[in-house]
Symmetry: C2
Subunit: 229 residues, 2 copies
Amino acid sequence: MTGADTKTTILDAAEGLFAEHGYDGTSLRSVTARAKVNLAAVNYHFGGKERLAIEVLVRHVGPINAERHRRLDALPTRPTMAAIVRAFVEPVFPVRAGCPAGPAAPGRDFCRMFGRMMAEQPPFLRAFLAGQFRELGHRFVACVRSTRTGIDPATAWWRLHFMAGAMAHTLLAGDGIAHLTEGLCDPDDAETTVEQLVAFVAAGLAGPPTPSRGRAARPARTQKRRSRR
Amino acid sequence: MTGADTKTTILDAAEGLFAEHGYDGTSLRSVTARAKVNLAAVNYHFGGKERLAIEVLVRHVGPINAERHRRLDALPTRPTMAAIVRAFVEPVFPVRAGCPAGPAAPGRDFCRMFGRMMAEQPPFLRAFLAGQFRELGHRFVACVRSTRTGIDPATAWWRLHFMAGAMAHTLLAGDGIAHLTEGLCDPDDAETTVEQLVAFVAAGLAGPPTPSRGRAARPARTQKRRSRR
DNA sequence: GTCTATAGGGGGATAGAC
DNA sequence: GTCTATCCCCCTATAGAC
């Protein structure tokens, strides 16, 4: 099975390069060079650059989301916000103890690549991402609403969105904070990073329902102009 | 001054294309085509693709950060978290009332472009971004710490980082939430978006200091391995 | 299955006429 | 200041020998 091994080699090489340079910034030539295989091998094994990117993602996203579902299943009927957030966050980071039994720990490369892909959202990935996260999103919203009566669905969705943003940014722009703080914050310390992220997001989720939620439902204020659209 | 007008035309065209396709995904040919100017004009006026991208950014980032500083100056000595967050968030979104006097309201294109650039962080931009945000970051951390005694600097920096992530993701992946929620959440409604973001971030910032902050300062636990590096 | 060679299309940058 | 024409690069994808 030399062929199967070639596939894995290519996937590993692509993962690192996509992480570093993004989708558009990565050439198949650089991938095959790093993998030490021939240029034509990518098209033979995957059928093109887009399919290669998708396969790099599914290799990790599948197990990660499976683990998330497993943790959501294991939640008590009235979970804490922190527990819910952990179910989403911990399977993604290369965490130390606590989830060692899970499927092959995603490497740092995948984390950065995933962050970039979330940001770039190449058109051919949108369908894939939507498919992977629609069900998970609904479960998340249901869990959040089960902990606190005052949160309407729209607010819960917004907060899921913000959580995803904080997470994606942490996965990909970690170097930035290390540089800005001159080492005070170390994104390579996965444990502390996760604790910080969980504390922040859990507090944000548990905040009071957004005042001006919905449309023309501001408490008391003279009619301002209803902007746009 | 026909020359100055050409420059602006190019900047506008580039802004839209960078927003839509990112830096790597945008060709100078597409820029000059949209701007209806000659291909050579970009190199004549800006000196290359990188310089063009930087100028597109500075055009908006400068005024936005100036406005942020102005709002931070106007903060009371013990401000609320929400007020601090507003000082950072509102100048970025195309907001309706409340900051109409500010410099030319940044359009949606710039918002998306900025989100992408924050995510991609092309190497030539890192120095620029660091320069633009170092001072602002320190002021932000100082403000946050002034509201609450228990927050150490590292935690404050982490939370600033998460805020930036939530904001960047909101700026660029707005379509995603509209699609996922089938219209329940509308990223084109800038007012509601800002209110949701401010409420979430303010609550996250005001959360209890992160338990496992710092390094080997976990309450009680056997020495675990000190990961990597 | 694996490789070489090449097709066929853009890409950024520049020289030099106007 | 503006344009045309061009240099020379790198890209993805594929055909066809081994």
